[in-house]
């Protein structure tokens, strides 16, 4: 619900340092904000705009294009059920229907306790493991209604905390950005990139 906190601001500056043009950091910074708050707030977008020297509208323009950026809060666990062709053929729609009934929310809805949101999604590249769903972008292959029930119980009981981080956290690793490594500096003898903005 806020601007990036001091720790994340340090990370944000490292992310900025990876790119010859700062605007390339826009999507990574939106991910960072979502990791912090679980969604992307207006304040966070304004902060990102300041960091990148673009307008807040430009940040919103990009944020609103991409499916993964949530501009309002979602559940701690985002359950993404694929119903595209390979999953459809082996029960993806029925799986989605089961999930919404079991959790008592419509597609796109969040449970009252804020634990689960359910979405119908397009192909998640797990076609040979269909029907498949993701929870916070972790794969759960060849699902059945019973397996989904067990999964929800395990998530609610915290038994999968090691496997499924809270919503917003994608990769739990960060590329190291030491001072020697940024924006093509490794390649010596190259002419400066037009309009290049170095790390401040």
């Amino acid at each position: 619900m806020a601007r990036l906190n001091p720790d994340n601001l340090v990370i944000a500056r490292q992310i900025l340092g990876r790119y010859p043009h700062s605007r390339s950091a826009l999507i990574p910074l939106l991910h960072l904000a979502q990791e912090q708050d679980g969604w992307v707030s207006e304040e966070a977008m304004v902060h990102i705009a300041e960091l990148l020297d673009v307008t807040p509208a430009e940040v919103l323009g990009t944020a609103s294009f991409y499916e993964m950026f949530k501009r309002e809060p979602v559940g701690r666990y985002l359950v993404n059920v694929c119903t595209n062709i390979s999953c459809l053929l082996v029960g993806g729609e029925e799986l989605l229907e089961h999930c919404t009934e079991r959790l008592g929310v419509p597609v796109g809805g969040t449970t009252e306790d804020g634990v689960f949101s359910v979405e119908e999604v397009e192909c998640i590249a797990a076609c040979t493991d269909a029907p498949c769903l993701q929870v916070n972008y972790r794969y759960f292959p060849t699902m059945t209604p019973d397996a989904a029930d067990l999964l929800f119980d395990d998530l609610r009981a915290g038994r999968l905390d090691d496997v499924v981080p809270p919503h917003g956290t994608l990769s739990r690793l960060r590329p190291v950005a030491d001072a020697e490594r940024w924006a093509g500096r490794g390649a010596e003898g190259l002419p400066a990139v037009p309009g290049q903005q170095g790390r401040s």
Binding site: F65, I85, C127, T128, A130, L190, V193
Partner: protein, 463 residues
């Protein structure tokens, strides 16, 4: 069924978790391809890859070495962008490499960067693939620690930075110019063409090579074994091996690496070493040969070779190597609707024929399925489709009715191929299974307008 089994090139280590670490990868000959490349001038590496006639594995099938050759001399810096935004419905082969053999991709990326003289390489991974991101980040860090990336790689004097970047959910970003827009922090909309290749104007306006994950994963092998060994595999116009994801109504869905060009659809769908045939002893109804954007093929096409120069003239494409199998229980109308909805949802909105066309196709087909269809809806659907991709649209030939195939590719009224792609499932289903559509229309008892709500188009269409 004579399937010639060959040693895998890009999936050799997929079942070996140890190979995800650099120690395991090095123990299996890892980074030998990079060393071999660094021992030669970059121009020779380009020539080697050109000689291998390595076709791009992302969908378009353009020769990789030739793509590199388009870089204009003297316009540094050059960039390399790895397209790991695998999103085509039915496709899950790049993820096999990203998650299970990340160093293979990193090595391939470094070889390409050396060959083209890239100042920086960006590995763009699909946003939803969290595990792939973690594994590739770890591999890149290890490569830096061991001196395979960064400054003065292996004492060669060559330096390149490798940045792992990931998206945030948008199918269209798999289109290479949309991917560059996305990497520049913008909405992922394809760029106007010409220029047709980012080699002319790419990332930040600089010459850029964009290659698919599987394409680059071939490079270490090509550099270690040479172009001749690569040419020895496959056929005259399809060399090496290729990953095919076989999904849908088969007994053993999976991603299989087979010799390119010599293997047939029948082999990968029915052979016990691959997908093992149709589930429950059912009959094959139709199959999508190359991702959801490919026109459908039917049982009479099973003996076509997995070779772009065979499948293209036959009226479809191998695209992204995704074979989706539909058995006799499949409702062709609903299958087509699901894919039409996909394209409507993923249209970026830049070109009017695509933005409006895909949305109206989904609206009209939805009402047909929900029992609100009108008598002329099928003609209307085909008319809308013709405005996105002017006829004749590619189609498979039907020998029994003396209908000749219309060869790939399609024509288009749009900047990119997303729009025309919606026509593939729609036309395939209507032309082949028209009685199924008419059965839905016959059930249409409701008054006009029922199920006509455009707001129902985005993903949550009720059934």
């Amino acid at each position: 069924m004579a399937v010639s089994e060959v040693a895998p090139i890009v999936s050799a280590r997929r079942a070996d978790p140890g190979a995800r670490s650099i120690e395991g990868y090095l123990a299996d000959g890892g980074y030998e391809g990079l060393r071999a490349a660094l021992a030669r001038p970059p121009g020779e590496v380009v020539d080697e890859v050109k000689a291998a006639q390595l076709l791009g594995r992302g969908g378009a099938g353009f020769p990789a070495g030739q793509k590199w050759g388009f870089l204009p001399p003297g316009k540094q810096p050059y960039y390399l962008v790895v397209n790991g935004d695998e999103s085509e419905p039915g496709t899950c082969k790049d993820r096999v490499i990203l998650e299970n053999d990340p160093h293979l991709l990193v090595e391939g990326t470094l070889i390409c960067a050396y060959a083209i003289g890239a100042a920086q390489a960006f590995i763009y991974i699909r946003g939803e693939m969290a595990l792939a991101q973690e594994r590739v980040i770890a591999a890149v860090e290890e490569a830096y620690q061991r001196g395979f990336a960064g400054r003065d790689i292996c004492g060669s004097g060559f330096s390149v930075d490798v940045v792992v970047h990931w998206g945030a959910g948008a199918y269209i970003v798999g289109e290479e110019t949309a991917l560059l827009e996305s990497l520049e922090g913008k909405r992922g909309m394809p760029r106007l063409k010409p220029p047709y290749f980012p080699a002319a104007i790419g990332l930040y306006g600089q010459p850029t090579v964009v290659n698919n994950v599987e394409t680059l994963a071939n490079l270490p092998w090509v550099l270690r074994h040479g172009a001749d060994a690569f040419l020895a595999l496959g056929t005259e116009r399809a060399h090496g091996t290729r990953l095919f994801a076989v999904s849908g109504h088969v007994r053993k869905p999976g991603v299989f690496e087979v010799e390119y060009g010599t293997t047939t659809f029948r082999d990968v769908i029915f052979d016990d070493r691959y997908a093992g045939g149709i589930r429950d002893g059912n009959q094959l109804k139709a199959f999508i040969p190359g991702g959801s954007s490919a026109p459908w093929l039917f049982p009479e096409h099973l003996d076509l070779a997995l070779d772009p120069s065979v499948v293209g003239p036959a009226g479809s494409m191998l695209g992204s190597g995704a074979i989706v199998v539909m058995d006799e229980t499949t409702d062709a109308v609903r299958a087509a609707l699901r894919l039409v909805r996909f394209y409507a949802h993923e249209s970026c909105g830049k070109c009017t024929p695509c933005r409006e066309g895909t949305t109206w196709l989904a609206t009209i087909l939805s009402r047909v399925v929900r029992g609100g269809g009108r008598a002329d809806d099928l003609d209307l659907l085909l008319d809308v489709a013709d405005n996105i991709s002017p006829p004749p649209f590619p189609r498979a030939g039907w020998a029994d009715q003396a209908i000749a195939p219309v060869p790939f590719p399609y024509r288009r009224t749009t900047i990119c191929d997303l729009g025309p792609s919606v026509v593939s499932p729609l036309r395939s289903a209507i032309e082949r299974f028209r009685p199924e559509f008419e059965a839905y229309l016959a059930r249409a008892v409701a008054a006009d307008g029922e199920g006509d709500d455009p707001a129902a188009i985005p993903v949550a269409v009720s059934r």
